[in-house]
């Protein structure tokens, strides 16, 4: 009962053990990247790096289990997205945040990333959701987070999060069944 694999992994990461970071990174980075890509991050790969850097910087303060850790990482990602959007919205020449899935407007590596990951139909379906709905849905899916964890991240009540995810799923369902080709 004294041996807790997660705690020892965490401890090792806090001490800067590379095996620990590799484990954490390979476990979380793909999910994080999926989240950032579907949220329309302009530079998902760069953002994955930024988020992890922040994690590494503050990991010494982290206390909690693996679930809590994942939730924390996604919270940081969520906030970075908000920052990125604010920056973009200050530059009118770039696509505005409300069009987060308008990929293809950038010709950089990200586009390639999306194409590689790429699922056009999923993208189109997600575009049919409001940005709030998308946010909640994608946090739940990629972060494997509970309603309460998502609520803490987006700063809404759990009830509001439930409502958003419900609407998101119903909207997706409608689009599937009414023959928007999948």
């Amino acid at each position: 009962m004294t041996f807790d694999p997660w705690q020892s992994l965490l401890g090792a990461a806090q001490a800067g053990a590379d095996w620990a970071w590799e484990r954490i990174y390979t476990e979380l980075a793909p999910k994080l990247r999926g989240y950032l890509v579907t949220r329309g991050a302009a530079d998902p790969d760069g953002l994955v790096g930024d988020v992890f850097l922040q994690v590494a910087r503050n990991i010494g303060t982290f206390r909690g289990d693996e679930d809590g850790f994942r939730s924390w990482v996604f919270m940081i990602a969520h906030h970075r997205l908000i920052d990125e959007r604010r920056r973009r919205s200050r530059r009118p020449t770039e696509p505005l945040p409300d069009d987060p899935l308008a990929l293809g407007t950038t010709e950089s590596a990200e586009t390639t990333a999306m194409v590689r990951i790429g699922d056009d139909e999923i993208r189109r379906l997600l575009e049919g959701l409001t940005s709030d709905q998308r946010e909640v849905l994608l946090l739940r899916i990629f972060g494997d987070l509970t309603v309460e964890q998502v609520a803490a991240i987006v700063g809404k009540r759990p009830g509001a999060v439930k409502a958003l995810q419900r609407r998101a799923l119903r909207a997706l369902e409608r689009r599937i069944t009414t023959g928007v080709p999948l």
Binding site: G16, Y25, G34, D45, G46, L53, R57, G68, E173
Partner: protein, 305 residues
Amino acid sequence: MTSFDGDEDEMTAHRDEAILRGEAAGSELGELVARIRALGEQPIDRDVIERHVAMLVREAVVSAGARQAPSLPGRRRVPRARRSIVFSSLLSSILAKVLAASVALAAVGGGVGFVADPAVPGDALYGLDRAFEAVGIGRGGAAERIEEARALAARGEIPEAVATAGEAAEEADRAEAAAALRRAAEQISAVEDGAAAEPTRERVAELLELLATQIEGDGVVGADVAELARSIAADHGRDRRPASPAEPGPPETVPPTAPDEMPGPMPEDGVTPPSVTIPAQAPQPSEAPSEGSPSTMPDMPSGRP
């Protein structure tokens, strides 16, 4: 969308949960969710992993080192700084002094030790007090969000409360405050387990009240508010050992230039920053913004916008 609130939808809610957890293959919606989830299962290139891991190890070591930097006798502690900036009311300036003083006392040397020290419940306040600095007086749709934040704080849902307060600041067009609150939420979230500690909660709740006062902008400063701020600060200070000087952070983590969240002194509304407690900026490694700072991964595929 009240039509979803009926009892008959409980089944749907259960099914939704199962779908979101990936436990409901078979339905079309379940398939779709599974496909979305699969987008998060694409392996990262080996060389990217190696680059990033090396970077993270270095960063973790450097940060840990900064946290435990030994005291240098004879060195005056460097109080954290430039915390005055956007204050635009008397309340703000009182708060600034009180908080800055308490932080100066509390901080282990420079900003380095302070933010990173996990054991101290006051850590959560670090981000909050920056939010105070930035918030000035705000008005508008934010009041509602603040109400929510209060309610959440009262229920002990602290990270949620702080994030909501951040949205309030956002709505009040206080970008810096919003950013600071988001950082605060991250910090609180990081120590959530331990920091469920009552003192932190209480203080966060109290500070939220003050934040509310700011945002609701009634401008009148009661002696009681100042008193409250002082007592918070006093408690805050009491929790911590007297400051001992510490190394300023190493160059890797500490951009010599100001973080963009707190851009240099920019007095608003002609307010002069409180003069007493505003020494030179001590670096704040854990708050370094990603934008334009060395914190950005140097060799990522593409540059930041």
